[in-house]
Symmetry: C2
């Protein structure tokens, strides 16, 4: 990492330009680019155009690219001596219903004063227009000071993130050579609790499966057949219960292949976060972690695989009672995966387990739903430590390497299709109400977010 003497000037330029930057964000937020709603297709395209124009005006080589769905915006600067970086964000937003729960029109954004400081209120303020503009504004200030944009940048903005990103993988595959960089940056995550900056370095993967157990060719009366005939609910329940032992460990053979113990560095980092599982659970009316025995709370959520039953149905579930042995029972189950666990190997082990629990006369049908390995970034890339130092300097608190319990499929796609790791850095807060009425983004997140990117860009030169 080279020291860059001019970063102070870029930060000053950002501070000076904050009112204008907020004005630009307001313009962007006024475009109702709801990607799931076909009635807003023109608005989505308008948002892409607005963004492309901004970037072109700044000096990027920018274009709107059509896809089978909503367009992609790609903007680039010429290659130079620095490593190439791909920055990803999305310009589409979630629907706004229920509209009645909003305190102001969702696409009439405003700066509002709150006890915790000023916030930008409006749909997309946090997810993801406000966040992606932190990077754009950092580039703008860079140009003010240096006269040119940073070299080797590729900016990729998607308009379908809130509707499942159907065009993303095809676009990455079709344009792999043009999009490949040495590292990806994604600004779509949050600060760690109480505002501590963080880089997400690992994400859990997912294996989803639907299981249908069938026995008799019709529903049976338990008076005539109970005790003699197979009951698919009983069979399913018995098989599912046996997937975990009394310590909360998964019993499927080979399940833990590829699950590594936490490194000492990460263990120390995570301990330093002071995560209190009881406090975390108390937000949803719970208080006691009941996961795998002998694991810390953050390990359970970030670094251990899970088996969960997400849905189950069978037999009579209406009012009253019916003494039926149903013809079939169904469950949707999923595993969160870590390390190098192979989703398809886990699926195969689960299927074998269920088959081994099938009594004679029962049949089982499986439907695969989702399969993505965990993403574990190679933090020995010096970019990670450089970015950590930059974030720590900006926020006055040591930035943490953290995990995420969920999946962010695009990070996996960048790895699989473009062969690059991703630094997930974001400035949202847990109370931003993304996907909900009254979404907001703290002005502090916006301002210090842009300053963070300026420092990171400097550190990665």
């Amino acid at each position: 990492m080279r020291e860059n003497p001019d970063v102070g000037a870029v930060l000053d330029a950002l501070d000076d330009g904050l009112p204008a930057a907020l004005n630009r964000l307001m313009q962007f937020l006024r475009i109702p680019s709801i990607s799931t709603d076909p009635a807003h297709a023109a608005d989505v395209r308008r948002a892409a155009g607005w963004l492309c124009d901004e970037l072109a005006a700044l000096g990027f080589d920018a274009a709107v690219h059509d896809t089978a769905g909503h367009p992609m915006v790609v903007a680039r600067t010429p290659p130079g001596p620095s490593r190439t970086l791909l920055f990803y964000g999305h310009y589409d937003v979630q629907p706004v219903d229920p509209l009645s729960l909003w305190d102001r029109a969702p696409f009439d954004p405003a700066i509002e004063d709150t006890p915790a400081g000023p916030v930008i209120r409006g749909r997309g303020a946090s997810d993801d227009k406000g966040q992606l503009m932190t990077f754009v504004e950092a580039c703008r200030a860079w140009k003010v000071v240096h006269g040119t944009l940073p070299d080797g940048l590729i900016l990729l903005f998607e308009g379908e993130e809130e509707s499942g990103s159907p065009s993303l993988q095809p676009f990455l595959r079709a344009n792999a050579d043009a999009l490949r960089a040495s590292l990806a940056l994604i600004c779509d995550t949050a600060l760690y609790a109480d505002g501590r900056p963080a880089i997400t370095t690992q994400l859990r993967g997912l294996m989803g499966e639907e299981i249908v157990v069938r026995a008799a060719d019709r529903d049976l009366h338990s008076g005539s057949f109970g005790g003699l005939a197979a009951n698919p609910i009983q069979v399913l329940v018995t098989a599912l219960a046996a997937v975990k032992d009394a310590d909360g460990r998964v019993t499927l053979p080979g399940f833990y292949d590829g699950v590594a113990e936490l490194s000492d560095t990460l263990r120390e980092d995570w301990q330093g976060l002071g995560f209190d599982p009881a406090d975390y659970l108390s937000r949803v009316g719970l208080g006691t972690p009941i996961g795998e025995r002998g694991r810390s709370g953050l390990e359970m959520v970030w670094n251990r695989p899970t088996f969960e039953i997400n849905g189950i149905s069978g037999g009579y579930t209406g009012e009253g009672f019916k003494t039926v042995l149903p013809a079939e029972a169904r469950a949707k189950v999923s595993c969160r995966l870590v390390g190098t666990q192979d989703p398809e190997a886990v699926r195969a082990a689960l299927r074998a387990h269920v088959r081994a629990h099938l009594p004679p006369d029962c049949r089982v049908e499986f439907h695969a739903h989702g399969s993505s390995p965990a993403s574990v970034m190679d933090t020995s890339d010096p970019g990670f430590d450089a970015a950590r130092a930059a974030l720590s300097a900006e926020w006055g608190r040591e930035a943490a390497f953290i995990g995420a319990g969920g999946s962010i499929p695009i990070a996996g796609d960048f790895k699989t299709i473009l062969g690059m790791d991703t630094m997930l850095i974001g400035f949202a807060r847990d109370d931003d109400r993304i996907h909900s009425p009254n979404e907001k983004y703290d002005v502090e997140s916006f301002a210090k977010g842009a300053r963070s990117w300026a420092r990171i860009l400097a550190a990665l030169r």
Copy 2:
């Protein structure tokens, strides 16, 4: 048992009167007495009136008794030297939909020739108008020969059997002294397989329970909480799976209290029935009994208690997938009970079992649904052997004492409220399509059913 020299004359009178008896049954079947449909309330009352008039014309002291629902018909003969007998049947019928699947109008009955012999086709032909008329016709023939009806008879006909008998218990309680007899007779069951006559001497009881497990105060995302927070489906499934062991035995403490081994006599009787579980199961697309290990097929269905999950639901069960940890999961479960098992003791053991499987943070809610002990008749009452001999003589095959896997609540009510055992004797066949389109009753069942009752009445004098 006294020999009655005149039974042959009564049987001859029945044979001579068969065409007229069939005509009377046709009149009865033309009344659409569907008890669950309020639109047919007047028809139900008309059927009660028709029946009452028939009985009064025959010389019974007969009356229609109002209840909170549909009326009861009670008819009696004066007490005499013979033991008192209460005969029960029901004059209401099931709905007819889907009407399009009927080959003739359900309330336009007719005698139809079939390869297996002539049948009476129409709603209620078997369940239960045709069956109850076998007893009425036996009484009529008795009077033709003897000049008087049999002494000590009480006939009780209900109009709500197909809609849950809500008025029956109150009526029995309010009229207990007037209805008490030394033995009850119910004609609402079937011949054993391939037409062998049978007396059902034991019925399983029932304990139904609904279990609701709750954890977080909202649905949780498995990415954020999976591995840490309690999953109510997992908790419920684990508790339910542990109710049975690998041999199919129920593990609840005290569950088998009151469950007796089969007597040698019954074991021999049942073995003689040549029940083939594989054949029985093949009718519903199955082939292998998977109940309690080491028990014969008929034991499993008639003489062993069960635990069955009748319905289960929780989490996301729609199309596609949702990686949710739901806030709650529900199951409806029931036990079929035998011997002197106490339904409430079983319920308490089940609740304690579920509570013992609850992790911290989870709550459980129970809802009781149904509670009736098994009915085991005292077959040392000489009436049972007398009836068995009478049935054997009529059908030319040894009548069997059999069990029933289901519950017939009225037999339990007769025991509990009126203190009397019941002989369940019926002449329906498994292919009568009761509750379904194209219901029928074999003319042979009707004719030999009436002759059977004539023999039984004679044998019980």
